[in-house]
Amino acid sequence: MARYILRRLVTLIVTLIGIMVVTFFISLVVPLDPLASIAGPQAPQETVDRLRILYGFDQPIYVQFGRYMNRLLHGDLGTSFQTGRPVIEDILQYFPATIELATLALIISIIVGIPLGVLSAVYRNSPIDHFSRVLSLIGVSMPVFWLGLVLLLIFYFKLGWFPEPGRLDIMLIEPQRVTGLLLIDSILALDWEVFWDALKHLALPATVLGLYGLAGIARIVRSSMLDVLSQEYIKTARIKGLSEFLVLTRHALRNALVPAVTVIGLTYGGLLEGSVLTETIFAWPGLGRYLATAFLTLDLNAVVGGTMLVALTFSLANLAVDLTYALLNPKITLAEQ
């Protein structure tokens, strides 16, 4: 196991360096002069030239790359052209909102997805199976930005059940920032009004994202559950006289969940990318919206920093999945030796 973890960590480092190279490459292919947009259209040539030297764009590519890597390795992501603040500060401010949203979405998709998958495997071809199949199909086929708009239209504009887009009511004061997650911070501050309001604001965007995640989870749980249920030891458990509930939960589900772990990890990555679109719709002040704005305005440092952080989170999630998987399924580490 130790060897496996070590090997995975080495791969992670190689990947991280690769991520830095790719993001550098992204900033290279930009055809527009980013300086022109910083300086403004009326700026005299000498201002642009001075900026060019200031940002180091006058150097040959390998020098730029060397400086870039040097900067990154020292944890310096540069300054955002848009906000005028260090990108790292921007990210630290916006990232918790995305984590909060994505995590709640993942919780929703797990809480709904797993029972749905189990039920549709146990009652195969029953109405609940069909329902779950249709829901999964819609979940993977629905454009998240469209679902977001439709839900806003129905539940905010027409019915008024949920609050306006955003993270918190304007009239409420954010609790003292500890984790940056409003739900947790408000609990720490014992501010139930904020907690409740934050939860209501989270409900729609988290549902939108959660539906997407739910589809994959319900599907994989169903198929692995069907696999497990046809095994001999399930028959043995039944013959032993165990109640059906115990057979399902203690014997079948435990093994069926192993493949689901992989999908849950992948889902988290999917939620991160989904957050770019969902946050744009729900005016959610998170990393996704920050990235979308950065992409649109070609705010290079913000693009590079944000993309890198997303890739890093994605890679860490994958690593966590692989390790959990190895823990649950010893065959994987055994193959290593």
Binding site: T11, V14, T15, G18, I19, V21, V22, T23, I26, S27, V29, V30, P31, L32, L137, I138, V140, S141, M142, P143, V144, F145, W146, L149, V150, L152, L153, F157, G269, G270, L272, E273, G274, V276, L277, T280, L291, A292, F295, L296, L298, V303, T307, V310, A311, F314, S315
Partner: protein, 300 residues
Amino acid sequence: MNITNALDKGEARRQRWKARSRYWKDSLTLWRRNRLMEVGTGIIVFFLLVAAFAPLLATHDPYEQILSDRLQQPSMQHYFGTDSLGRDIFSRVVFGSRVTLTIAFLVAAISTPLGLVIGVLAGYFGKAIDEILMRFSDIFLAFPKLILAIAFAAALGPGVENAIVAISIANWPSYARLARAETLSVRNNDYIQVIRSMGASNLRIMVGHITPMCMSSIIVRLSLDMGTIILTAAGLGFLGLGAQPPVPEWGLMVSDGRQFLVDQWWVSTLPGFAILIVVMGFNLMGDGIRDILDPHQRQS
């Protein structure tokens, strides 16, 4: 089959023909057995026909702006209503099918061959080449696909062509992975050894004897990916990083209608509905194709 038959070219051709027609007949049976796949294929064929006959189906010019007719409700005149510039939304959705399907098919046409070549090369030669090519694709796989596509689309500049390139860049690594795995599984088979001992070059073995073995899994994967490709393209359009106005791209149309959501719901929701249906069609068809090409399924 005895040895004389095997050497008789005419007989061999007949045998091959028989095997092939049996394969297609089985496929047809499996296709007929799968009701959902029939629905999916139906949807795709429907949209292909719409795209092909768009000028005949459209009731208005999708680009023509009649400002006096702006934001009209769906009616017999304008089936889906009109947008903020007085353009007929139905006609724009009809013409939009061309944009969407073109993007999807071009991305498929660019990213699968690319992934196939890289994957087969890596799997066939192994060692250093494998290591380099696979680490290279790992780097791309470290990004969520949509983020990578958005980043490249933004860097290359907005527009349909750049969106196609960007989505292809994000997509090829998974095909390379798959092709490599398939290549590894057939590389040391006896039949490859036989061909090699007969003097076939590496290129010939790769093109003629390994690539065909990768095709079925690549096709399955691609058909399952088609929906995601369309969703990515629509997402790019929605963010303003894909198709640019006045192109009637569905994602862009959803975005255009956002500010009129409350009172003119049709501007935004109807084009989005078209995305949902076409993606659903591809997903249903993809599931079906997977079942049809799956050898386990064929046994039964």
